[in-house]
Amino acid sequence: MNRNSGLENLFRPLVIGGMFGCVALSLVELVHLFFPAWNGTTLIVGCVLAALEANYSYRLIRARSLRGTDALRFRAVEIAMFFILLKIGSYVGDRWADVLADIQTWPRQPLNVIDPETTAAFVLALLSWWASTQTVRDLERISEPSEPSRYYVSPIESLTARFFWGGAVLLIAAGITRIGIAALLNLNRPPVPGLVLNVLVYFLLGLVMLGQVQFATLLKRWQTQGIKVADELAGRWVRYSLAFIGLVALLAFLLPTGYTVGLLDAVATIIYILTYIVMLIGMIFSFIFGLLLAPLAMLFGRKRPTPPQPSLPPLQPPQQEPGGSGGAWFEILRSLLFWAAALGMVFYVIRSYLRDRPELLQALTSLGPIRALRGFLIALWRRLVGLAEAARERIPRRLSLRLARRGPSEAPFHFFRLGALSPRERILYYYLSVLRRAGHLGLPRQRAQTPYEYRGTLGPHLPRAQQEMDLLTQAFVEARYSRRAFDREQARQVRAHWQRVKAALQALKRKSEQTSTRIGI
């Protein structure tokens, strides 16, 4: 048996049979609600066998090329065999004497053959057989070219629709079985915990089947187009599929599945917690303010006031529905997580669905109320973005202005090593040092002055070092605005100019101090 034949003759029929068995199990459980004495095992086995037989008979008809009356005869015999087998199955567990007695009634009352139990099982098995045949046919159709018809439904669409609708039926049947018919309309009933194995098996097998369908589709397309397929691809596909499904199953099992706080209550809880935090902060501030005012009150001869004690009611968890297993806050957290996951999921799915269909999105946005809402939200968003940008722009500017107002003397102290600077940085430092010293002497550089303009201002005050000031300014401009490289020798030369200018500034300072002393300032 090669890989493909194993896939088609063994794997697929078993998966299909298993999935129909899962649906049948839920239906049997549902029927048990109404007829608790009914033995549904025959039906479950019958559905699985019908699904397996459908696969086999479909291939047989294709292999023998049966058509017209031959095919009808084949199908009629097949259906009759179903009925006979189900009838035999309905006697399983009965005493042989009872079976014989029932059979003896058939000639007198032929309607005894088609009792309700067997008929129901037959109808359900027939449905399973029909759906299974359609599934096998769709799997075969994957390799066929699509038909140019408006009503053509691709085999993949047909298969997935069958899988999804089967899943929906399964969920409804399994859900009703667990909550009961009476509680169906009671929306305040507690959640039903526990694992539903047949539902899990159905969906996991379905996902595996979807992976196989996708692989078969791609493989057929590649074969049709003559595309070479790497040998490793099939094996890796199986490995990656299993790993992927395992991973998503793990994720799904990790997320919270129940809630004890409703959606509106969850929102109210969030608002309540936020309000509580704001009040707490306010309380702390008022306490600190009270402490600061206390000495002031004592000055006016009052008794030392006791600072107001913060008194906030304890944080109360909201009302919960019954059914929670953990602590109150744990249940709230679990509910909040659940609602966040659920809403995020719905939002993401709808968003990506609409993004993939721009025409639908356009049609929706052209509707009046939606357009107005969209316009409002966009305007609000832009406003928020504008405010954020303005804040981002203004805050650093204000901060820098404030720092500038403080002046250089307020700059934080830090260790400074001139030798660690690069030659360019050293030249910059020499010039800025002159600016600082001149500023202390009452000769600051105005904000609008260029270095050359400032040289014209400071130069006349330093008649002995005017040339050095020119050279220092020239060096600074080059270091600041040009890209040419400076070496240590050049920095050393500038240092000599700087020292002369510094000496001239110190002389100027001494002179001004002497003058001040002389005139008695």
């Binding site: 899943g167 992976g211 890796r236």
Partner: protein
Amino acid sequence: MRNFVPFLLILFAIAALLRVDFFFTIVYLFFAVYLLSRLWTRRTVDRLRVQRHFTDRAFPGDRVTVDLTVHNVGWLPIPWLEVHESLRVELAVPPFYREAVSLGPRERWHFHYTLHCRRRGYYPVGPLTIQTGDLLGIVRPRQVQAAPDHVIVYPRVVPLQQLGLPTRSPQVALPARSPLFEDPARVMGVRDYQRGDSPRRIHWTATASAGRLLVKQYQPAIARETLICLDLNQEDYERRQRYTATELAIVVAASIANHIVVREGLPVGLTTEAWDPLLDNRVRFFLPPRPERAHLMSLLEVLARVQITSAAPFVDLLRRESVNLSWGATLAAITGRESEALFDTLVYLRRAGFAVALILVQSACPLTELQKRGDLLGVPIHRIWKEQDLEAWR
């Protein structure tokens, strides 16, 4: 998968209505499938790197093996990857290379295919289209394209022993019988000074040694450089034979250039006005004469990619580009049709001091009259129609 999202919403509605906890797990399962499939596909596409390794220059008849590497630089595996490399029909039949693979985390996959270089040209290798998708067919497959590389197939080069083209150029030094020029770099010997010799020719060392005035004797030399003027104006070739004739003209130009550089070691240049697929525009090429082999390769590259176009008249090209040449250079004009204007231009060029040769690429027609006229004007005329005709010049 069209109905996946509606199904997911229905599933959620059922789970919310029935409030069976496990059904939410199923909803999460399908949502996780949807979300991770989308993220996985998007992520894997962003994590693909493509490289091509091949010799991007070839001669007709060569086979070039292309090593195409697709590298998944991410840690996520890529379940399936359909690679479609578009090729030109001149390089491969069928004109594409396709393969479907699966890439593991940080895995490289090497694809190998061969290009059959049949015709000269400048061909794109690619673009490479990569399609990938998820395992379950939930997300639409995503496509990315990698930019093409290019391969240059040089024109066919026919080996020629002798061209028979006239030479009258002083630019390149070659030993010659008639001492029209002397190369001061090539000292042949010394002789006694004669009246009228330039003092710059005196060999002072030898004079000092011999005790009498001696002058240097230089090796006599003439020089030649050739400019191939290729006509790729479609009007100058017969409509029915346009393709064959222009391809042959290019082969002639390439063969002449190869012969001059490789066999004779002389400088050769090229000028033509043609459609350049590299720039996707009409371009006037002028490659000044040079003797290096590297120059020959760049000349062949131009000849590899030029295509016929509706250009300005060929005579304009001849007149314009001759301005860039030194006196005495050789002009080899290759065209598909002779005309009075062409002869007038050739005569003008000859009188301007150039040596001129006309190579006509056209099917059989009486050549005797033309040759007579050519002899009269001092312009040798050759006619080429088959590649074998080139061999006749041997």
